[in-house]
């Protein structure tokens, strides 16, 4: 529908006002009313700016917040600003000889008034308001020729399966609509994410090829967040020659997907290769040296080397990696007398373990992280503190009627209630069950390797770790530093892509993440997928943890540990206090425990991860932390002041 009449927009606007418990009509409701018109003018113009209507609507809702359910007046009155906008719109219609304003008049009026909430929100989102104002007067959707046909070829390196789906192809064509043809060279994802990351070479009409670019296609919310994050955190801290986001994201009304292009400033002809695929070409020995000599110094200067002392509790940086602490069945927002437990900051985790199936829980002042309309579920988290802490203590709330309740990302919920459906322990045990262990995963210790008689069971022992205080350091981190995101460019220069998780955080997080990736991508394929193979890997990691020589293993396997050894050398430079390795073993425990729950990781990889988490915990226990006299329980971690090693 294009250029529809005012009465239809007002219906949308009033519904939005009721959903948000505002009960008045403001410019923000009028603008959302415009954005909700499928195929409408405002929607099309927002899309042309690389955003989606839903993304802008959520940002406006975050700005206004919900009102209280108690009404302070009857009826629905217009705000003074809405009256001004309506009178501008009416004038525009009259000047054009019409009785009633339409979609275009209202949009122009909002842009002319230029001082309302949606205007301020769009300015923050980087919308070019001048361009919007120009195009709002002239834009006519062209249904005949809106999506020029771009031919897509595949290089022989591109795997036939899984094929790109229709929506991915649609976004891809749109991203390259100034070209006549593109060639998808290779897939760069390793499968931790749902995102498609691929190398694409565009071709001009005359057949000449432009420099290849890395394309990322994922759900629109995540892609638009990544673009915002790149602007806020990444852009200013990148080394001169690397992959950059040069354009606005590409979105489309017909799909929830969006796309980003990473272009290379070097602009070379050879095709970049990620380290997951390229490690063999580079030579396994060379990979380690390359990480140390190229990647670390090149990005390190503004990232991991620019670190400040940072004291944190483990949960603040690492809880978000774990499965949700609870899954609740929605039970409304009104207080009830039968509440068993109230969850609010600070969280008393011990209390959580006592909750049973069906218990009624009230959660207060958590914020909405994600909305899953197709699952009738929302994910909430604590929402305060550092970037990672905001996402700590995830809770899934299912069976919510999302058609009735307008939940939006970033919304703070004063109270939400639910009955316990599942807890974190069940999810971790389920993940452990998937890798078919031959031992009891609920016991305090698990059988591991001959060198360690009693390996702590990470599925249980991580709990105490979350309370531990760490004297570490804070730096800019990539946030998802696996081999798939590290590219080897011309002259073996280092490129990073995928800045969706980039933030200020624990400086060692990236290296623990990379170690997990090295084990899964380079070591497990050599070792094999069985438990005996996992134990073999664990024996080698144990030796490295101890600074000892590798045990007697096949030479090819021993060789595959060279890059991991290099990562440990880098970590050694990044420790907050020299030789105090406990800081790293905390990060390694949490990152490997998280990987146990990844069903996209190979079974052998997940088996190795369980043992490596146990080994990292073993090292933490073997290097006792400073204990407080008169501690309540003689746990290894409890009540300790920090991770200082006393011996």
């Amino acid at each position: 529908m294009f250029n529809i009449a005012l009465r239809d927009i007002l219906i949308n606007a009033k519904q939005e006002s009721f959903r948000m418990y505002h009960y008045y009509l403001g410019v923000e409701h009028l603008f959302i009313g415009l954005l909700e018109i499928q195929g409408g003018l405002t929607r099309s113009l927002i899309e042309a700016q690389g955003l989606t209507a839903d993304y802008v609507i959520d940002a406006i809702r975050r700005q206004t917040g919900k009102g209280s359910q108690q009404r302070l007046w009857a009826g629905i009155q217009h705000t003074p600003r809405a009256n001004i906008v309506m009178s501008i719109g009416n004038d525009l219609a009259l000047e054009d000889g019409r009785q009633e304003m339409n979609e275009r008049d209202l949009l122009i009026a909002i842009l002319e008034e230029n001082d309302s909430i949606p205007i301020r929100v769009m300015r923050k989102l980087g919308v070019d308001l001048e361009m919007l104002a120009r195009e709002s007067r002239t834009f006519v959707p062209d249904y005949t020729n809106s999506h020029p046909y771009v031919q897509i070829d595949y290089s022989p390196d591109f795997p036939v399966s899984p094929a790109l789906n229709e929506n991915q192809l649609f976004i891809l064509r749109r991203m390259f609509d100034e070209y006549s043809q593109i060639r998808v060279e290779r897939r760069l994802t390793g499968g931790y994410t749902q995102a498609l990351i691929a190398l694409v070479t565009p071709k001009q009409g005359d057949g000449s090829e432009d420099a290849p670019v890395v394309v990322k296609i994922d759900s629109a919310d995540l892609i638009l967040d990544e673009a915002m994050r790149y602007d806020q955190y990444v852009k200013t801290s990148l080394p001169p020659l690397t992959a950059r986001l040069e354009e606005k994201p590409t979105t489309a009304e017909s799909t929830d997907l969006a796309g980003l292009k990473y272009t290379f400033v070097a602009g070379v002809n050879r095709t970049e290769q990620n380290l997951r695929l390229g490690a063999r070409d580079l030579g396994i020995q060379r990979v380690g040296r390359w990480l140390q000599e190229e990647l670390y110094p090149y990005f390190g200067r503004t990232w991991w080397q620019a670190r400040k002392p940072y004291r944190f509790q483990v949960w603040q940086e690492y809880d978000w990696l774990l499965p949700p602490i609870l899954t609740l069945e929605y039970a409304g927002e009104e207080p009830s007398s039968s509440i068993q437990h109230v969850l609010r900051d600070p969280i008393r985790r011990r209390k959580l373990t006592e909750l049973e199936y069906g218990d009624l829980v009230a959660v207060e002042n958590f914020s909405v992280q994600r909305v899953y309309p197709e699952k009738d579920m929302i994910q909430i988290a604590i929402g305060k503190g550092s970037e990672a802490a905001k996402r700590a203590y995830k809770i899934n709330v299912k069976n919510i009627n999302l058609a009735q309740n307008a939940y939006y990302r970033g919304e703070t919920l004063e109270r939400i209630m639910g009955r316990v459906w599942k807890n974190r322990e069940e999810l971790l045990q389920h993940a452990a069950g998937e890798i078919f262990p031959t031992f009891d995963t609920r016991a305090d210790h698990i059988p591991g390797i001959p060198e360690v008689e009693k390996l702590p069971n990470p599925l249980l022992a991580y709990e105490d770790l979350l309370e531990l205080h760490v004297n570490g350091s804070l730096s800019k981190i990539h946030g998802d530093l696996h081999l798939g995101n590290i590219l080897v460019g011309p002259n073996e220069s280092a490129f990073l892509i995928d800045f969706a998780q980039t933030r200020d955080g624990h400086a060692l997080f990236d290296w623990a993440t990379l170690e997990i990736s090295l084990i899964n991508d380079l070591i497990v394929p050599v070792a094999g997928q069985e438990w005996t193979n996992a134990a073999q890997i664990a024996r080698c990691v144990y030796a490295i943890n101890r600074g000892a020589a590798l045990p007697n293993v096949p030479p090819e396997l021993a060789e595959s540990f060279a890059p991991l050894q290099a990562v440990r050398d880098i970590v050694n430079e990044c420790l907050a206090k020299q030789d105090k390795w406990a800081e790293y073993f905390v990060a390694l425990t949490m990152c490997s425990l998280r990987a146990v729950t990844w069903d996209t990781m190979s079974i052998g990889g997940r088996r190795a991860m369980l043992l490596i988490a146990g080994l990292a915990l073993h090292e933490l226990r073997a290097r006792p932390t400073r204990s407080t006299p008169g501690a309540r329980t003689p746990s290894y971690f409890e009540d300790s002041n920090d991770t200082d090693i006393t011996s």
């Binding site: 505002h22 008045y24 007046w73 705000t79 003074p80 600003r81 806020q232």
Partner: protein
Amino acid sequence: MEHKISIMVMSGVEDGQLHTCATANNDGLLELDNEAWVLRLGRHADNDICIRNDTYVSRYHARLHWRDHRWWLEDCNSRNGTFVEDRVEDARVFGTIPVEINQLFCLGHTWLRIQPPEE
């Protein structure tokens, strides 16, 4: 010395409403030989600027001070806080901080802005 201020409501049901206070109308409180001027903001009707339609605003929520030729914003231990707009995340006001003309600040859920003086 005469003082005058115009504050525009920037959100909520009163979005776009202009509140004007002036010493000529006996608004606010003069201090320091008329060099300083204090205005009270809150939900109660006897504030100089009354925000009656936002239940997140405390009865006596905040004060604006004119002192040393500039405006200062003070949070009066309000229940839901006073915030000033920032690029990435809005910053909560503790105690008294300087506030600029045209800078947005928030009491409860209500955003306000000091308008530039009319020529």
